[in-house]
């Protein structure tokens, strides 16, 4: 508790403080418990001390990377959101967390990372724009492959090949999971009464990206939007606990004022990138010219191409004389 802990997480976007569900879960839990965290919103996992996001850097225990371990660590530091829960409620938490992880999270990953239209038009675009050069060329693809492999191992190959069956059965179970969550929440403010618990952090982190992102292929999203109490639940947590850092200032404010603001913000980067590319081009051309002998530095003369007209003239002069 003495030294502040530092949390590294993905940058915000789409109206959320962070776009990655795991990072969002840890952030939300920290906000619920009031843990003093210094949050670094980074745009690439290379900036984090462990190479993965989210990562919590603590004074005593090094860097912790798995979201569940981060939450356990915060709990050990006496930031416990589940303090008031009864034993049955704690048991229910465990059960609902398993339900989320088994039924909803894989389908979410599929919606964002594997579904062709969503991935190309939305997810990859956002990550490619946010991650700095040169990582933005290969990192989104690497993440896509990793998620695809994970889903293949979880679901088996026959699901991955048969798109229709996957859509029907797995998405149906995900929709059922959402409906079950909605029924369990009912008209309460949080899952266990009036104060939020770790289950709320997890549910929010899974639902919020699905609610806020503008997905081209959004069947699951539509189902979520039809469950009014879950939508209100997400928006109320956002407005209560993340009132000022919802998403990027880049995307939020300029969107209201027009596109000028965002262009002005991006302009310094744009100019720098253009300058850099021109410089690289020049260096490449000059390097090639030197190496292949078109241009060579010798004392006195301009170069072999320029030599001939001069010598011709000299010869003519000589001849004339």
């Amino acid at each position: 508790m003495a030294a502040p802990m530092e949390l590294f997480c993905w940058a915000g976007g789409w109206g959320l403080p962070s776009v990655d569900p795991d990072c969002l879960a840890v952030l939300t839990y920290a906000r619920f418990t009031g843990a003093p965290l210094k949050v670094h919103r980074v745009t690439s996992p290379w900036r984090s001390p462990s190479g993965h996001l989210p990562a919590l850097r603590t004074q005593d225990e090094g860097t912790i990377s798995k979201p569940q371990q981060i939450i356990t660590h915060l709990r050990k530091q006496k930031y416990n959101a589940d303090y008031d829960l009864s034993a049955t409620q704690s048991a229910d938490t465990l059960a609902f967390v398993s339900l989320l992880e088994e039924k909803l999270l894989p389908v979410l990953i599929h919606t964002f990372w594997v579904d062709a239209k969503n991935y190309v038009e939305h997810t990859r675009k956002w990550y490619a724009e946010t991650i700095p050069f040169p990582l933005n060329f290969f990192l989104p693809n690497a993440m896509h492959k990793r998620h695809l492999e994970r889903l293949q191992l979880m679901w088996g190959d026959d699901y991955m090949e048969d798109e229709e069956r996957l859509e029907k059965e797995l998405y149906r179970e995900a929709r059922e999971c959402l409906t079950l969550l909605s029924q369990r929440l009912g008209s309460q403010k949080f899952f266990f009464g009036d104060s939020p618990a770790s289950l709320d952090a997890l549910v929010f982190s899974r639902l919020a990206p699905l609610l806020k992102a503008k997905l081209p292929n959004g069947k699951l999203q539509q189902h979520l939007k039809s469950l009014q109490n879950l939508c209100n639940y997400c928006t109320s947590i956002l407005s209560l606990y993340f009132p000022w850092d919802r998403g990027d200032p880049l995307t939020d404010a300029p969107r209201a004022a027009g596109t000028d603001g965002s262009e002005a913000e991006e302009d310094p980067h744009k100019w720098r990138k253009q300058l850099l590319s021109v410089l690289v081009g020049l260096v490449a051309m000059l390097g090639y010219a030197f190496l292949s002998g078109i241009v060579s530095i010798q004392r006195g003369s301009v170069g072999p191409a320029g030599r001939q007209p001069i010598t011709l003239e000299e010869e003519e002069e000589e001849e004339e004389e």
Binding site: K66, T88, L94, S98, E102, L153, C177, L180, Q183
Partner: protein, 275 residues
């Protein structure tokens, strides 16, 4: 299957009553079957018993390969083959038998959540113990898994399966766990189940549901299977209401029923501890 075909099949399923010669396939009981498969198979048997549907248990060495999804157990009813507890529950529901009709929406949500908890924690822990714990793998799993096949096929098959399971463990993040952490997770899971069960006879009211069948299948198998150490079964024994629950279901649904492969009471290679 397209939607039309599936609706047609469901209609067919609903149309036929449950036949007398329905069969459940699993691996060989005494020599081959492993802890996790045994638990799943027992869960399905318990569920069908609770629905009062007769089933014969048939043991085949290649049951895993016969199954449409690659997982045991699977049931052969009429001319349809369905594997795993989830789809079997739905199939049985289509035939008009259901244990969870009397539950309200919130209870159904909780039931589904607890079933996922068992699958997520108990089943994965069993898989971890049998395929990722080196001692258990060498002494129990490899000899058992390939036992019906001659050398070198038995070694090849079991190494292949082990590689597959280890990849899956890595994908879900369990590869980095130690045995102590896995046992800790099992303890947490049993604690949650024990809390939920409380002093009731079954998890929901006085009637058993598929959750009871699933929990019974896993806990009973853990309690009665002899492994290298007793740590896993000790974790379950810590909770007296869970052991009483297993005993109650065994007495009510499995006493005096003859099965083809073997009855639960006649397990020779397993400790029968609930006596």
């Amino acid at each position: 299957m397209s939607l039309v075909a599936e609706a047609f099949v469901t209609q067919l399923a609903a149309a036929e009553p449950w036949p007398e010669n329905a069969a459940l396939y699993q691996q060989l009981k005494e020599e081959q079957i492993l802890l996790s498969d045994n638990a799943s198979s027992l869960a399905v048997q318990a569920f069908l018993q609770m629905c009062n549907l007769p089933i014969r248990v048939i043991c085949r060495a290649n049951a895993e390969y016969m199954s449409p999804s690659g997982k045991v157990p699977f049931i052969h009813v009429g001319n349809q083959v369905v594997s795993e507890l989830g789809p079997i529950v739905q199939f049985v529901k289509a035939k008009g038998h259901s244990l969870s009709d009397g539950l309200d929406e919130v209870q159904k949500a909780e039931m589904k959540a607890y079933m996922e908890l068992v699958n997520n924690m108990l089943l994965t822990a069993e898989l971890y113990l049998q395929w990722c714990d080196d001692v258990t793998v060498e002494e129990i799993t490899h000899p058992r898994y390939g036992s019906p096949y001659p050398w070198p096929l038995n070694r090849i098959l079991s190494y292949q399966k082990q590689w597959e399971v280890r990849r899956k463990m890595k994908a879900i993040g369990w590869a980095g766990k130690t045995l102590e952490q896995v046992l800790e997770d099992v303890d947490q899971c049993c604690h949650a189940l024990s809390q939920r069960l409380g002093t009731q006879p079954y998890f929901f009211n006085k009637q058993p549901t598929e959750l009871d069948a699933l929990v019974f299948g896993h806990l009973f198998t853990i309690l009665t299977t002899q492994l290298i150490t007793d740590e896993l079964s000790e974790k379950v024994k810590n909770y007296s209401n869970l052991t009483a629950f297993c005993r109650r279901i065994e007495q009510q649904y499995f006493e005096g029923h003859d099965k083809d492969c073997s009855t639960i009471a006649a397990r020779s290679s397993k400790k029968s501890l609930l006596r």
